[in-house]
């Protein structure tokens, strides 16, 4: 199967940017802002449909950062200081864990625009992976980050259950912290085993397709252990991962190829992406297992909306050409 989808938060279209600015200056009220959010979400959903995406997200326009819904709504967590979002000129609020974390109500379902999502295309939800949450949080309560990671995995389990019940067919767990490694410290086998077990806790019993999407770092650092992670697909940021290293392994899982660069506005040459994808597929796949998703390497909100929209089309076109050229249907 060859498909395509988005892997994170979408940029806010211009009219929504202006509305949020006006809202901050108290020039529009909650109701008006909500209407503009709704309209922008419809626009983003439509753009994904136009690009022939296999799974569609609602754009996550209300997510101030990947962790924020949990930072704001989990019992036991306080909203902390602004901190840099990996190596980007964007910032997130640190979750400060001050007591036992507890999910007292649905967290992300509350901000999904269900009525904006299409009836005839499958839905995808994106959540922070246990390791990334634990790594980015300020842990003032649990003995160590591993304990926090497992507690958060339990929270995710309940959250995933709600989302799948409400109709989501694909759950992506975003795990940038697992591969972001500017100081090139080796990632221990014990860490990777704990990550695997935490994913198991979060995902066990989930009937839908799942993915661990990594970005901002070299995926090959977590190989071969990642091949045993209990997810259907593994997501790779190809702008941070050395191609050659990847080719040393055979994948028995699906791969989400982060071929579209969400951190640069340059619109990719489709021919080049098709060729790179074909080369990687040929090298890393056992022939009978060809589940491939063409996707942006990370959240698209590093781009202005117009450029992100162009890049959605690139992802869609590359997937379409791969299907035709590799003679793969579905």
């Amino acid at each position: 199967m060859i498909g395509c989808y988005a892997t994170g938060v979408f940029p806010r279209p211009k009219e929504l940017v202006e509305a949020t600015r006006a809202y901050e200056r108290r020039k529009i009220n909650d109701e008006n802002l909500e209407k503009i959010f709704h309209k922008a979400t419809l626009k983003i959903v439509q753009a994904q449909i136009s690009a022939n995406f296999s799974y569609v997200t609602d754009g996550m326009l209300k997510w101030q950062d990947l962790l924020r819904p949990f930072t704001e709504k989990l019992h036991g967590v306080r909203v902390g200081a602004l901190a840099r979002w990996f190596s980007n000129n964007t910032f997130y609020r640190k979750p400060v864990v001050v007591e036992e974390i507890r999910r007292e109500k649905d967290i992300t379902a509350e901000i999904v625009c269900f009525e904006c999502l299409p009836k005839n295309v499958l839905w995808k939800a994106i959540l922070p992976a246990p390791y990334t949450f634990a790594k980015l949080a300020e842990n003032r309560f649990y003995r160590n980050d591993t304990e926090l990671m497992f507690k958060f995995a339990e929270i995710l389990k309940a959250e995933i259950k709600t989302l799948t019940k409400k109709g989501f067919s694909y759950i992506q767990l975003s795990d940038p912290a697992l591969v972001y490694n500017p100081f090139k410290r080796p990632i221990s086998k014990d860490t990777l085993i704990a990550v695997r077990d935490a994913l198991e806790t979060a995902i066990r019993g989930t009937a839908v397709r799942t993915c661990l999407q990594t970005f901002f770092g070299d995926f090959s650092q977590i190989l071969p252990e990642a091949l045993d992670f209990p997810v259907t697909d593994l997501g790779i940021d190809l702008y941070e991962t050395k191609f050659e290293k990847l080719k040393e392994y055979k994948f028995g899982k699906g791969i989400a190829l982060g071929l579209v660069d969400a951190r640069n506005s340059l619109v990719e040459d489709e021919n080049e992406l098709v060729n790179v994808a074909k080369e990687l597929i040929g090298q890393v796949y056992l022939l009978e297992k060809r589940d491939i998703f063409i996707c942006p390497n990370c959240d698209l909100d590093f781009l202005p909306w117009e450029r992100a929209e162009e890049k959605l089309m690139v992802a869609g076109n590359v997937a379409k050409r791969l299907k035709a050229e590799l003679n793969i249907h579905g």
Binding site: N89, Y239, F243, N264, L266, P304
Partner: protein
């Protein structure tokens, strides 16, 4: 500077409503015009009636708009002088913003729109679409105006090349290397390097040369993005960029960096050549209690710069620019004296704000700067 603890601001000061609206030809309220009169009197500005006449004019000519920039620069210079600073500039009143100003004055860039910084805050991000080309002086006119309107020492804030590259989409160079480097990661790194050094040679160095030609003696390179990517390769690139920027000029250079990872910067600071001063943000990290010693939590990293062998001066951030809290002179004094204890030599301390004061009102900024100057004087007394 003969006296200990010279005082300075980092660069920006809020633009008054009359400057912003006046420049855009938007109507000004009576209160906004009265504000111009009030501050004018407070700062002892002459011929305010000429400014008021321009402000009341509904359809301002291009020449009048230019005059407005000069008026607001004049106000800002006098503002810093009146607060008692030893080193001044014009509060960057001629600039829209540190990034946009330089990008709008060079060729090879195109603004693509707003991208999220955090929450409902965005910044206007540009793409480099062709080789950067110098078309006209960027800061020279502003510098000459400042120099002609003050007797104090002038420091020119200059947005650094590493930050410009970090905050810009690199379309041109990545496209250029498309056929040459197949691996995306390697291509990105090579394209970033080429962009950075082209920018330094085509834009930054020519502008520095012109500033020096116009009489600039001290240029502060602003590099807020310095530690955004803390990897060894990137930090070495940053150091190389700074050293290449200042190479061959007979001028004093300093580096300003704030809200960054100082554990990382400290490791590389001693490799910066011809960097007479590091202007760093500390007050934001510090407690508000007076005293010297353990309660000066915000200044821990200063020691790291010393341990790693930086031997230049420090622009010691003693004023937090993100709060309206007005630091008492005694707190400023203690922050300075604590830093002296860590550094060992009082002559290496310049007293500074953490960053530019552009997010504070003029009332708050003025009170903060007055207290900063008073605090520096209290610190001096302990050495007399």
């Amino acid at each position: 500077m003969d006296e200990l603890f010279p005082t300075q601001e980092i660069g920006s000061l809020a633009k008054p409503a009359w400057r912003i609206k006046g420049y855009k030809n938007e109507p000004l309220s009576e209160e906004e015009i009265a504000e111009a009169e009030r501050w004018g009197r407070k700062l002892g500005i002459e011929k305010i009636t000429e400014l008021i006449k321009i402000l009341k004019n509904r359809e301002k000519t291009t020449a009048e708009k230019k005059e407005l920039l000069e008026w607001s620069a004049r106000y800002a210079i006098r503002f810093f002088e009146k607060a008692g600073l030893d080193v001044v500039f014009d509060g960057e009143q001629w600039r829209s913003e540190m990034y946009e100003h330089i990008i709008r004055n060079i060729e090879g860039f195109k603004f693509l729109g707003s991208v999220k910084s955090f929450n409902y805050r965005y910044f206007n991000k540009a793409a480099c679409i062709s080789k950067p080309k110098y078309i006209k002086p960027i800061y020279v006119e502003e510098f000459i105006f400042t120099k002609n309107n003050t007797e104090r020492e002038v420091k020119v804030p200059f947005t650094g090349p590493y930050t410009i590259v970090d905050w810009t989409f690199n379309e041109y160079y990545e496209k250029k290397l498309c056929d040459k480097i197949k691996d995306f990661k390697q291509r990105k790194a090579a394209a970033r390097r080429e962009f950075l050094f082209d920018l330094i040679h085509e834009i930054v160095k020519p502008e520095i040369g012109r500033l020096i030609g116009a009489g600039a003696k001290w240029i502060q390179i602003d590099e807020p993005a310095a530690t955004t990517n803390p990897s060894e390769e990137e930090m070495q690139l940053f150091v190389e960029a700074f050293n290449e920027t200042v190479k061959g000029f007979n001028c004093t250079f300093s580096l300003h960096n704030c809200y960054s990872d100082y554990e990382v910067l400290a490791k590389y600071a001693s490799q910066l050549r011809n960097c007479s001063q590091l202007a760093l943000e500390f007050a934001n990290r510090d407690s508000r209690q007076t005293g010297i010693g353990e309660n000066r939590t915000g200044y821990r990293e200063l020691k790291l710069f010393e341990d790693y062998g930086f031997c230049g001066k420090y622009g010691l951030g003693v004023i937090d620019v993100h709060t309206d809290f007005v630091e008492p002179p005694e707190l400023v004094r203690d922050r300075i004296l604590h830093a002296v204890n860590l550094v060992g030599d009082p002559s290496r301390i310049y007293v500074s704000t953490d960053c530019g004061l552009r997010t504070r009102t003029w009332e708050v900024s003025f009170a903060k700067l007055k207290n900063m100057v008073a605090g520096a004087e209290l610190a001096r007394k302990t050495f007399r």
